[in-house]
Amino acid sequence: MKHLNLVLGAAGLAVFLAVGEAVPRLGLVKEAYFPPVSTIAGALAREVSDPAFWTALGDTLTGWAVGLALAVAGGLLAGVLLSVVPYLREATASTVEFLRPIPSVALIPLAVLLYGTELRSVLLLVVYAAFWQILIQVLYGVQDVDPVAEATARSYGLGTLARVRYVLWPTALPYVMTGVRLAAAVALILSVTAELVIGAPGLGARIAVAQTSQAVPEMYALIVVTGLLGLLINVGARTVERRALSWHQSVRGEVAV
């Protein structure tokens, strides 16, 4: 069964590529708009041999990783703080609900004015978008703490820190991992967006340049690269999640955020 699925998947991919080759060759769309797959592959090969491409990739990954790390740290800290300090969660609920749906791209003009095309522009957008993913999952996770476990810990005289360490953290961990996975995907979207729109160095800026200079195959090649990057991040995050939670018995549905 698994074998068959693999074969089918490979066939699907092959058909997808073949259609991508055939459609422009047959003149169904203009080659200038959608070059055949082989042309894109050629452009991809040229890109890969260009050191500037690797610099751009490095820039994008830096923005992504630093932004994600900041967001995870901030989200965790805020989440634990909000849940441990009495009344804080209740008092911040409305503010969180208001700030969370604000699209981070609204901050683009501010980022441009404040930081221009520096890395900090990218970070502002990435951190703002990814932070909420983590925070919300932490809050959901803390909500899931078994009151009996909490009461037991209290009755044995565990202090706040010990309770966070031994009760709260293990319960919330699966949620946090989900949050990290979602945040990782969002962080990539926003770092590429920031580069594309603001012009901070990276793959996004390279796509913008390719577009303005009418280098269509290169543009497609770079988009394929961002897709592969996203795929790697998704698969990687899911693997880490599964590894880290292999001890965890409960199979739980993802909390929709």
Partner: protein, 262 residues
């Protein structure tokens, strides 16, 4: 008495922090001479001037129209394709790797691609929004359709519920919590794409207006634009929640009742 007290207490919790934050912003920024951080008073004063009926008609409404049409298009296509792919195991195995890749492409990079095909008009923006929004809806629908309870499927078969009725009364309602999770993710992506596509190439719209203010160093105007975007995001999310609460009321009830008696 106790009830009134509780309502008051809740109200206090809801408004207290926002009030504090706004006050702090108001006084901290009062008399600010930093061009980028104008006093809140200036921003508030600029708001009704900037966002008069004319601008709402010229910028806000076109943006909303693009967002909603793109989103609706994505919802229809995503649910339809997702149901098809989710219903047949072979189709799913065939499409899976390609879908995984397409979903992983950061949606904003679609803007330059779709500009090639559809120019810079409304069509382009709607297509960009639809293409970006479709993946979470599609993939969540696939998952939801796949996860239809086998006992329910057999029940439907036993009682002769097949074809379109099966889709309408079993498959889609059963998948609807997942579909809504996808719709929710897509809503934020849609707003992002609406703004970006307008920042890239447009002659009106929220994204266009904000970039115009920024380029023209009309900083209070820019700030009002950011506030409008924030409010729009917030309001759309509230509307979404209301719709979801209504459509999925059975689901929330079911979940609560199984939580009470596990």
């Amino acid at each position: 008495m106790n009830g009134t007290f509780r309502v008051l207490r809740r109200l206090l919790f809801v408004v207290a922090l926002p009030a504090v934050l706004l006050t702090v912003w108001w006084f901290a920024s009062a008399g600010s001479t930093d061009v980028y951080w104008p006093p809140l008073e200036t921003i508030v004063a600029a708001f009704p001037e900037v966002w008069d009926g004319e601008r709402i008609r010229a910028d806000l409404l076109p943006s909303l129209w693009r967002l909603l049409s793109g989103y609706a298009l994505a919802a229809v296509v995503g649910v339809a394709l997702g149901t098809l792919i989710g219903s047949y195991r072979t189709v799913r195995a065939f499409c899976e790797p390609v879908l995984e890749f397409l979903r992983a492409v950061p949606p904003p990079v679609l803007v330059p691609v779709i500009m090639l095909f559809a120019g810079i008009g409304d069509g382009m923006k709607i297509v960009v929004i639809a293409v970006g929004c479709v993946w979470p809806i599609l993939l969540n629908t696939v998952e939801g359709v796949r996860a239809v309870d086998p006992v329910m499927t057999e029940t439907a078969r036993c009682y002769g519920v097949g074809g379109a009725a099966r889709l309408r009364h079993l498959v889609l309602p059963s998948a609807s919590p997942q579909i809504f999770a996808g719709l929710r993710q897509s809503l934020s992506i849609g707003i992002i794409l609406m703004v970006i596509s307008e920042m890239f190439a447009a002659s009106n719209g929220l994204g266009f207006a904000i970039v115009q203010f920024q380029r023209g160093f009309a900083i209070p105007g820019m700030w009002t634009g950011i506030l409008v975007l924030g409010l729009l995001g917030f309001l759309l999310s509230v509307v979404f929640q209301l719709v979801e609460r209504r459509v999925l009321s059975w689901y929330h009830g079911l979940r609560d009742s199984s939580r009470r008696s596990p």
